[in-house]
């Protein structure tokens, strides 16, 4: 497989797009991959479902839309409901464990939950939940080096909030490492990414 497909879904206001942009940036600029990121908003501008789709590949990407994601990150129940069935067999699911009840889990899917909101609230700003998720993603998928992700974080977030967001990232990252050790719900660790070659 020459490319990997990632989808992030949630509600408007949860920072899904920023998380996706940061991830995409990390992959595109600091992992030297070809990356195509597309987003769709719900029909109404605000408060509704939104999702980000990322393709990362070693070769130029022409068709920028996902067929079936390899990795799905869901931050809302709605996003889970809508997108989980599309996940590739053997794909990986990450989810906000207090907002999403990851059930029913599609066949063969490995899932990791992260209490991102709570971790963010520990930092005093629920808002940075998205960066917690990103840290978690980085740890669990191994798709990009934490340095790449950190650099992307500092460049993507509003000026003056770098430290806070990086702290959130670290919280998520640490949590991800812990959960990895603990295993997925099926007890299977996600394998090394076919395109990054790193774990």
């Amino acid at each position: 497989m020459s490319q990997i497909e990632i989808q992030l879904g949630g509600l408007g206001g949860q920072g899904v797009v920023l998380a996706g942009m940061t991830l995409g940036r990390g992959l595109a600029l600091y992992e030297e991959l070809h990356v195509s990121l597309t987003q769709s908003f719900g029909p109404e501008a605000r408060g509704s479902a939104c999702n980000v789709q990322i393709i990362a590949a070693r070769a130029p990407i022409f068709y920028p839309y996902l067929e079936r994601p390899d990795i799905l990150v869901t931050l809302s129940q709605g996003a889970f409901r809508r997108f989980a069935p599309g996940l590739k067999d053997g794909g990986l699911l990450l989810f906000e464990e207090e907002l999403v009840k990851a059930e029913p889990l599609p066949n063969g899917v490995r899932a990791y939950g992260v209490p991102a909101t709570r971790l963010a609230e520990e930092l005093g700003r629920k808002m940075v939940m998205n960066m917690v998720v990103l840290g978690f993603f980085t740890a669990v998928t191994g798709l990009l080096r934490p340095e790449s992700a950190r650099r992307a974080v500092s460049e993507s977030v509003p000026r003056g909030t770098e430290a806070l967001n990086l702290a959130a990232f670290e919280k998520g990252y640490t949590c991800g490492l812990e959960r990895l050790t603990a295993g997925t719900r099926e007890g299977i660790r996600v394998c090394s990414s076919p395109i990054s070659g790193r774990s």
Partner: protein, 391 residues
């Protein structure tokens, strides 16, 4: 001429098409933007508003699109390079001033990030149904140039190209993006200023007495001056003589309008630009532009996988249209398949240019999302098997 480094954000970026477009404008030397907010184009000028004050430029938010599309022309005649950006409804409001720019030969760039129409339609979702409007939307005879980028990188590159073409031919140049390309984020490489070619304004060197403002050289394009330099020019949207004064006569009309049209038609071969993939041996050629070209390319790949010799012709410059190339191909391909996010626009041009030598089959789409590659694939396969005209 090379780009002024102050406006060039050299480096590798992760930009969406809207942001890339803004950077293209800045790199091209654009220092004035006027606009009126409209989804999904506003990000372009929002970024411009951020960046311009740092590079000696200015974004002016006008009261409507009528104002925005003429304010840039005032700025151009004051010496600036200028552009405006909009989407469907705003584009419709700019029609009168596209004609004014064509008539007064005011070099300027107008970006339309196409959304679903008609009317308010689908404000946040994509469309490609303003393509004929781009060519025909203002009253009277005129010609202009329209480009259709397929990626954020091209949003950058073609925006620069748009400014350059505008200066070279003194026409309004349209960058016909679509919401998908505008909101898709990819790597965008901005080269050093020294590697960016920027067309200077074609200012005259003649002194006042000798300079004839609308007297054209051999390529049909007159030299320009700007206000405040002592030339005391007159510029009017009325039919005018070479001095620029109203000349409401049949003769002046014929001479002027003919030239305005010919300066593009005669130079069409130089302006036309398209990209071909697998067309050499193709029996079915898909014609698609903007985001749809990327979807079509997948369909072409899938067709090839199924043993069908499919190819893709992507007009990069949509107006003037690659008439000759289509006519040429028509004589040897089985069929053209036109995929566009509308119910048939560029397909009509393909049909016309193919002059009955190959059928043109449209894969229409109402807008709001891209085609599924399978939809295009199916038509390619059907055409590979048949020679009937389906339209």
């Amino acid at each position: 001429m090379k780009a002024d480094p102050i406006g060039v954000l050299t480096g590798t970026h992760f930009f969406d098409g809207d942001h890339a477009c803004c950077e293209g404008a800045l790199a091209a030397g654009c220092r004035f933007a006027a606009g009126y907010p409209i989804t999904p184009s506003t990000e372009i000028v929002e970024r411009f508003a951020q960046r311009a004050p740092l590079v000696g430029g200015m974004f002016l938010q006008m009261e409507d699109e009528l104002a925005a599309s003429i304010a840039i022309q005032g700025a151009v005649w004051a010496g600036a390079k200028a552009f405006t950006v909009t989407s469907g409804p705003g584009f419709s409001l700019m029609m009168e001033h596209i004609g004014f720019a064509a008539m007064t030969e005011t070099p300027c760039v107008i970006v339309n990030v196409q959304r679903g129409g008609p009317s308010t339609g689908l404000p946040t979702l994509p469309g490609q149904a303003d393509m004929m409007q781009a060519r025909w939307g203002s009253h009277g005879d005129y010609e202009l140039i329209a480009l259709a980028p397929s990626s954020p990188q091209e949003c950058f590159d073609l925006t620069i190209h748009a400014f350059n073409l505008a200066e070279q031919y003194r026409v309004p140049v349209l960058v016909m993006m679509d919401e998908c390309v505008g909101h898709m984020t990819e790597k965008v490489v901005i080269p050093p200023a020294s590697e960016i070619e920027v067309a200077p304004r074609r200012y005259t060197r003649l002194p006042r007495g000798e300079y004839v403002p609308f007297h054209a050289g051999p390529d049909g394009v007159p030299e320009m001056v700007r206000a405040g330099e002592g030339y005391r020019i007159h510029v009017t949207g009325m039919t005018h003589d070479e001095q620029g004064f109203p000349a409401p006569t049949v003769e002046a009309q014929q001479k002027l309008v003919q030239r305005l049209v010919e300066k593009i038609r005669r130079n069409a071969e130089a302006i036309v630009r398209y990209e071909e993939t697998g067309v050499e041996d193709a029996e079915v050629v898909v014609v698609a532009y903007g985001i749809t070209a990327r979807v079509a390319r997948r369909a072409v790949e899938l067709a090839r996988q199924q043993g069908v010799r499919a190819g893709l012709l992507r007009p990069v410059v949509v107006w003037p249209f690659p008439e000759n190339r289509i006519a040429e191909l028509a004589r040897r391909v089985r069929a053209f398949v036109v995929a566009e996010m509308n119910l048939g626009q560029i397909a009509l041009e393909v049909e016309r240019c193919s002059a009955g030598n190959a059928p043109t089959v449209l894969v229409p789409h109402g807008g709001g999302a891209v085609h599924h590659p399978e939809e295009i694939l199916e038509v390619i396969l059907a055409q590979a098997r048949t020679e009937e005209v389906l339209r």
